[in-house]
Subunit: 202 residues, 2 copies
């Protein structure tokens, strides 16, 4: 937060951000169901009406946090794919950027399983949109790999778009367990990418 | 059901099975949250006390149905892996047997997304146990493939157990979307297995 002066009430964008920060901490500490708007307002140092001035309800706050996380991960994913080096490394870095932060978050909370369930219930549309734009990025990397002679998708009768879906969904499968740790996810993803890339290689 | 004589009240195993059948239909038609024990009892032709003589609550019925489905899928999976033919085909058939029935069920219900969420909330332990025993079966197929010279896991520095986890989790990732249809899942799984097997091949 930009100020530590607690005598002035927070307003506008500052109040909104304080609510998001407090809610994010509360969701990880207590889960979504047990967290109340009242407790979020208190932790954020704002009034309940101020919370409702910015968000429709608790799920709206949750969705906003999840959407922001997806945006950050997408930015990191794009950065990974536009770096130099062989396609295999870029693909690996991209998938790590896309999925590892979620694993880190949910595994850091004893309410990780509940948060994953709520995420699937409340944020299905966000996840689908995120998949769609991630697929476009992966597709481009795979096309680059084919152009540069690293990959041979034609040998498998796959378009780059189809191969992107294979790679994306498989990587998502490696993290679908609420009990998976960041270290275990990294190992799983490394093995998966090794196998997939060997499968897609010329 | 063994009898169509509705004048005799159902008892014991027959009553239990009638409850499971009626509940399964109701969950697909209305979702878990909207289905009541009352409506299950009515559809099964038994009294509420009879339902409670066999099950603790609605979630207990749901868990019993899901566990049975896992058992059936596992039996089909084992049958697929012990058939003749190359490892690639057996692996594909095994993964199809393991995951396709769930896709067919959830995609047949307009409450598919809710049922998947409830499944993850209520049946996490069943899913984990099912993964563990499925991994053992896949591991054996992969070992066979290595022994027969079809696969080369050592080239990737993978044990059969590690490769089994890669394959299983990747296949699960191909079905994690409540909106996926059985036909789309089959296509996705086929592509995934093609890539993975090419990656694991000698």
């Amino acid at each position: 937060m930009a100020t530590s002066d607690t005598s002035k009430p927070l307003r506008g964008a500052q109040a909104r951000q304080a609510v998001l920060d407090a809610a994010g901490d509360a969701f990880l500490a207590d889960g979504l169901r047990k967290t109340s708007i009242e407790s979020i307002a208190r932790a954020a140092g704002v009034s309940r009406p101020t919370v409702y001035a910015h968000f429709a309800d608790k799920e709206d706050i949750f969705r906003t946090i999840v959407a922001k996380l997806h945006d950050e991960q997408f930015t990191a994913m794009r950065a990974a794919t536009t770096s130099d080096g062989p396609v295999a490394g870029r693909l690996h870095a991209a998938l790590l950027a896309r999925f590892a932060p979620f694993v880190a978050l949910t595994s850091s909370s004893e309410h990780g399983a509940e948060l994953l369930d709520e995420n699937s219930r409340v944020c299905g549309d966000i996840t689908r949109a995120s998949r769609t734009r991630s697929l476009r990025v992966l597709e481009q990397v795979l096309k680059d790999g084919e152009r540069d002679g690293e990959l041979d998708l034609a040998a498998l009768d796959l378009t780059a778009a189809q191969a992107a879906r294979v790679v994306y969904d498989a990587a998502r499968g490696a993290k679908e367990d609420a009990s998976v740790t960041p270290a275990a996810f990294r190992r799983s993803l490394q093995r998966l990418v090794d196998v997939l890339l060997r499968g897609l290689a010329r």
